[in-house]
Point group: C2
Chain length 169, copies 2
Amino acid sequence: MTISMHSASMPVFIKMLGNLGHWLDAAEAHAAAKKFDPSVYLTTRLAPDMLPFNRQIQIASDMVKFGVARLSGVDAPKFEDNEASLADLRQRIAKTIDFVKSVPQSQIDGTDDKAIEVPMRGGPALHFTGENYLKHFVLPNLYFHLTTTYALLRHNGVPLGKVDFLGRE
Amino acid sequence: MTISMHSASMPVFIKMLGNLGHWLDAAEAHAAAKKFDPSVYLTTRLAPDMLPFNRQIQIASDMVKFGVARLSGVDAPKFEDNEASLADLRQRIAKTIDFVKSVPQSQIDGTDDKAIEVPMRGGPALHFTGENYLKHFVLPNLYFHLTTTYALLRHNGVPLGKVDFLGRE
């Protein structure tokens, strides 16, 4: 097998979003063991001018959703960014994975040179080839928000390790 | 152009390690402005059982170094993990980038199915195809240690933003 736009993206999206779901399970178990309300996670930040936990997960979801939509040309589902609990966030992750799985491989493969435009709030749009969009925008952003989520959980005492980040299977 | 093992890895390694160098510049400037010894960064952690700042950077370097070495078959340079200052860490990053640049594209391309063995301390070795090693081990580990480094700097007040994480060029 040779690496392709599909193989370099979709299995990574599905695996890492699945891992994220497991971290939320560990966060919920930790809150239950320590007897605190798990919704306190949602507003934790690593610095006052960084985005809080729930936004990190919403943006990780959006990176994947828009990544798949822009490469494939399939319309992205609309999410309201109104998640108010770990259960809501888990459902957001599941809906994102469902969307990824709904897009056929043939609509991702061959998008290496596709012209991609990413609108930016308060500035000019970014322009990429499909490959550069994947490797210099979608993947680094996805890993950024996933790792920040993981770091917030570790900083708040949730027992996770590198193997949970990478995934056990 | 079509995505390849080289195009999916080497430009990402060079860009992200270069970005890391810029974060260290910002960290040094922040320490100078606040009049504290920049070597205090080296031992900061986000949780007592997470690795400190200097180890995050050493491991990011190792992920790239061993990633390139295992895929290409070129021997990796030996680093002593004895960095004791931001200047030492900056040099470690530069040496890692030099190694990446020394390996010809032809020795990375075509390694999609190459059998890769990753020895693990205290457990059985991991086995991957070249592509799975890149996308499910090297890249997630690299981004994990880079984002954790970035998070440590942000947590310690260094003025950085997402554009610094992704790179400005």
